[in-house]
């Protein structure tokens, strides 16, 4: 064991340790400060005999002369086992629910390895979340990474919890015009909290407890008053556990990461302490690559039964979608569910801003056999009609309702009904995809039939409810 008392500088979360030998990049370090505080750290840079170490649990209590640094010769690892299910850990993977230590089945580096693109299996199993705004328009697919872009004060936690509670996969249906049954499968939730408040974390824990989902959940909690730099490790801990459960225990794992904004801020803190050349808004230039090493750990692998689906949550500073964090996230993830403050103010839950939300994998996850043959066309039509309805409403604000043509008025009525009946639903209301589609057809029936340009004629003939109104 190599132990040194040769710390020279301490800057923010970083320590510069001199006269070290055989230190490698990424190596794990155990730090002990003169006041007895301990912290784990890892090597960010090694230059000759000088190592730059980031302390995950902060540098409070350290000083250059009295700090002990022990280099452990391995990288940060997580001991994994099936027994992790039902347990709560801290941000560095240590039990914090008062339970016993996990006896690991194996120890895995938390950094993982990239999935070889040729070994990936394309995500195309529809996940029924029971939420119309998602299932109907921006469906989630097994192996997808679909973040929720939110803002402070918006009900992203409720929505994420609802998804975690209701998510189910449907059996492949033999008929193009019928939806398959819900399938029971080995299903797990891995939850990683980064910098969120105790109350937010408690909401999830209680939610999991009351629905007894806790038995198939693994929680990693780094709360707002926990060390910030530890957050850099937390999502990787969670994903390492998820990979083990998915690829070795054949489980379908839903990973909820919240809040990615605090993760990125921790990264910025380290970058600033290293005096790196900043990119936009002070975030490091490698933020995209760093985020990709988290998000890209979602997916499916050929020949393995399990899958990892990610629902990261991030709060957009000032609801600004062009802020680097949501921006770079959107470039990596396969779509985004955006929550809208106006809908929320009008009391519509879930306040999903349908138009800018997007699920990139929906084309693969819906259609005959997976959901129903008319799903894609219907969802296109709903999108188009809602967009047009909102445009007409804008026009009405300027010119008055009277200036609208009859067709435009129909679209306005559609948009209102769409928000009120399709987007709005209860926090504990679970709508099957068949119910969601039926609702969609009821709504498009409000439009003149000639306007249903995006739906194939045969589907219009087959599914449009018989004349209810003109």
């Amino acid at each position: 064991m190599r132990e040194y008392m040769t710390t020279r500088d301490i800057v923010g979360p970083l320590l510069l340790i001199e006269s070290v030998t055989d230190v490698t990049y990424g190596e794990l370090v155990e730090l002990e400060y003169p006041d007895g505080t301990k912290s784990l750290g890892n090597v960010l840079e090694v230059n000759g005999d000088v190592a730059l170490v980031q302390a995950f649990e902060g540098t409070r209590g350290s000083n250059p002369s009295g700090t002990k640094a022990k280099f452990l010769g391995r990288s940060l690892e997580l001991g994994v086992s099936r027994d992790m299910l039902g347990r709560v850990f801290d941000g560095l993977g240590r039990p914090n629910d008062g339970g016993p230590e996990i006896i690991p089945d194996k120890r895995l580096s938390i950094y993982g390895s990239p999935i070889n693109p040729t070994a990936r299996d394309f995500p195309d199993d529809f996940i029924q979340t029971g939420v119309s705004a998602i299932d109907g328009l921006n469906p989630l697919v097994r192996g997808q990474k679909l973040p929720i872009f939110s803002g402070s004060g918006l009900p992203h936690n409720e929505l994420a919890a609802q998804i975690a509670r209701q998510a189910a996969v449907l059996a492949r249906s033999a008929q193009a015009d019928a939806v398959g049954e819900k399938l029971e499968g080995e299903f797990a939730v891995v939850f990683a909290a980064m910098g969120i408040t105790f109350e937010d974390a408690d909401f999830f824990t209680q939610e999991f407890r009351t629905t007894s989902a806790i038995e198939r959940a693994v929680l990693f909690l780094n709360l707002a008053d926990d060390p910030a730099v530890e957050r850099i490790a937390t999502p990787r801990m969670a994903l390492t556990a998820a990979e083990y459960l998915a690829y070795e225990c054949d489980m379908h794992v839903l990973v909820i990461l919240t809040d990615m904004t605090y993760y990125c801020e921790a990264l910025r803190e380290v970058s600033a302490a290293r005096k790196e050349v900043p990119g936009r808004r002070g975030y490091p230039g490698y933020l995209y690559t760093d985020l990709a090493t988290i998000y890209e750990r979602a997916g499916r692998v050929k020949g393995r039964a399990g899958s990892i689906t990610q629902v990261p949550i991030l709060s957009m500073p000032d609801d600004d979608k062009t802020h680097p964090i949501p921006d770079l996230t959107g470039y990596i993830t396969e779509g985004q569910i955006i929550l809208d403050r106006n809908l929320h103010r009008r009391g519509i839950y879930p306040p999903v801003a349908v138009l800018p939300s997007l699920s990139r994998l929906k084309q693969k996850g819906i259609g005959p056999g997976k959901t129903r043959e008319d799903h894609a066309d219907l969802s296109n039509q709903l999108f188009g009609a809602y967009a047009r309805g909102l445009q007409a409403k804008e026009l009405a604000v300027i010119l008055g309702e009277a200036a609208l043509s009859d067709t435009d008025k129909a679209f306005v009525a559609f948009a209102d009904a769409f928000e009120d009946r399709f987007i709005r639903q209860g926090k504990h209301e679970e709508r099957s995809v068949a119910e969601t589609l039926a609702l969609g057809w009821e709504l498009v029936a409000l439009l003149p039939r000639a306007e249903l340009k995006r739906i194939k004629d045969e589907y219009v003939a087959k599914y449009l409810p018989a004349e209810t109104e003109a």
Partner: protein, 599 residues
Amino acid sequence: MEQGKIVKVAGPLVVAEGLIESKMYDLVRVGAEGLMGEIIEMRGDRASIQVYEETEGLGPGDPVDATGAPLSVELGPGMLESVYDGVQRPLDVLERMAGAFLARGVTAPGLDREKLWEFTPTVSAGQRVTGGDIIGTVQENVVIEHRIMVPPSVSGTIADIAPGAFTVTDAVGHLKTDAGETVALTMMQVWPVRMARPYARRLSASEPLTTGTRVIDTFFPIVKGGVACIPGPFGAGKTVTQHQIAKWSNAEVVIFIGCGERGNEMTDVLMEFPELVDPYSGEPLMKRTVLVANTSNMPVAAREASVYTGITMAEYFRDMGYNVVLQADSTSRWAEAMREISGRLEEMPGDEGFPAYLGTKLAAFYERAGKVECLGVDGETRTGSVSVVGSVSPPGGDLSEPVVQNTLRVVKVFWALQDQLAFQRHFPAIDWLTSYSLYLDKVAPFWKTEVSEEYRGRRDQCMAILQRENELAEIVRLVGLEALSPEEQILMETAKSIREDFLQQNAFRDDDQFSSLKEQDLLLKTILLFHERAIEAHAAGAALKDIFVAPVRERITRAKYLGPEDIDQYESIASDIETQLVGGGTDEDARAVYAGGER
């Protein structure tokens, strides 16, 4: 070869000392596992090396072995249908060697050393050949005949050459140079990626590269040998547009570089291309495709190299006389890789932290595109082309950022994707007002002879209508549609028809994803005929609202779903327009049909 020692490790950058004889951009092997790296800076005997694999576990004192050669790719039979990472490691082979996850230090040559290829010589002993001459062919697959060429810098007399089955490294024959040396001729050539392959002459390109996407082919065409960029915020459809071009463009070979993008997107291509049928050859699309996949979570230095790996392959196929399309998705990730490496080198940054040489590198890359007269003097002159389509992912959709701006200086076609259009599900979300193509006049003669005399005129008329719509839209927003004159209202209606019935195209609908130039022309013709007849009918006394609900509009709306075999339907639509749009007359019928929803 000399060996150096690591003194510093910082992420993907390693500094080693003791590499005195090595040169800039030489390939080195780092650490005990022999990780691939490239020298990118030299100070005294200290070399900065960007490493193409994860550097965790490396430390001072670890060895660095020089190879004395620059980063190169292997060119020869076996490239098609392959999937490579950014430094040409075959990913399918790595999967067989190391499993589903990429392991460090596992490597395999770019071309299969075992596989035998049936070689047929096209020259005979005693014949004089120079660099670029074709000496034989290999039918690589049913679609592509691989033409084996003399390496660019070699010339002499063929000493012997024979048909038969060979591996890529076997000598298929020998050549005696003028200096009297004997050179073995193999099917494989090795070429440094950062150096453009030579050609005889650059040519001006004028033949359109058709993509089957109407807004591109008709409004903003690109030529074979042209350069285009697709900037747009996330979710606007860059990748779908790139995929459409890879699938349906009339090039012979497609090189698709997934540069720092999503893993699932590469999987999508990998699973879909072997299934999809190339409309030109009738064979699976994969047979004409080479994939370079360096996804966002794969090592960042290899991402930097991936675009060079891709374009060198493209140039090689060009040299055989093929038209090649190279697609880089996304060049922003490539630029970010440069920024990341530059940051680690502690270089003084330019705009937004990007290195000061960003513009130079981008320009040099795009300049490797073009139509050329190939090297070689055998028989008639061969021409080949490389067209480059690069997508750009500007942060926040802000087109003033450095990568977009530096790209716009060199590309001739600009397909601007707009998120507003994407929100309205107007796809492809290419903004017709800000996009441009500088190749319009170049393709005009081709259009005239191959499509129709009027195609260009129709295109320009439609563009003018769309422009006018934009001006009028402002008025409509303020005072309402009724404030416009009847002619203007008709124009607004026609513009809407152009947008919805022509520009909008569903990439996921079998009957809509591909439109031939002829069909595009007919569709424009139909829309414009309606426009003219509507003006005439109104002048003859028909009410606007009756004109706008004429039953034939339904047929126009669905005309884009007609296949090539239904081309005669356009005539029947035209005759419907003629009969339905006359002064007075059919209003009542039209209304009845509209209300009943029949067709």
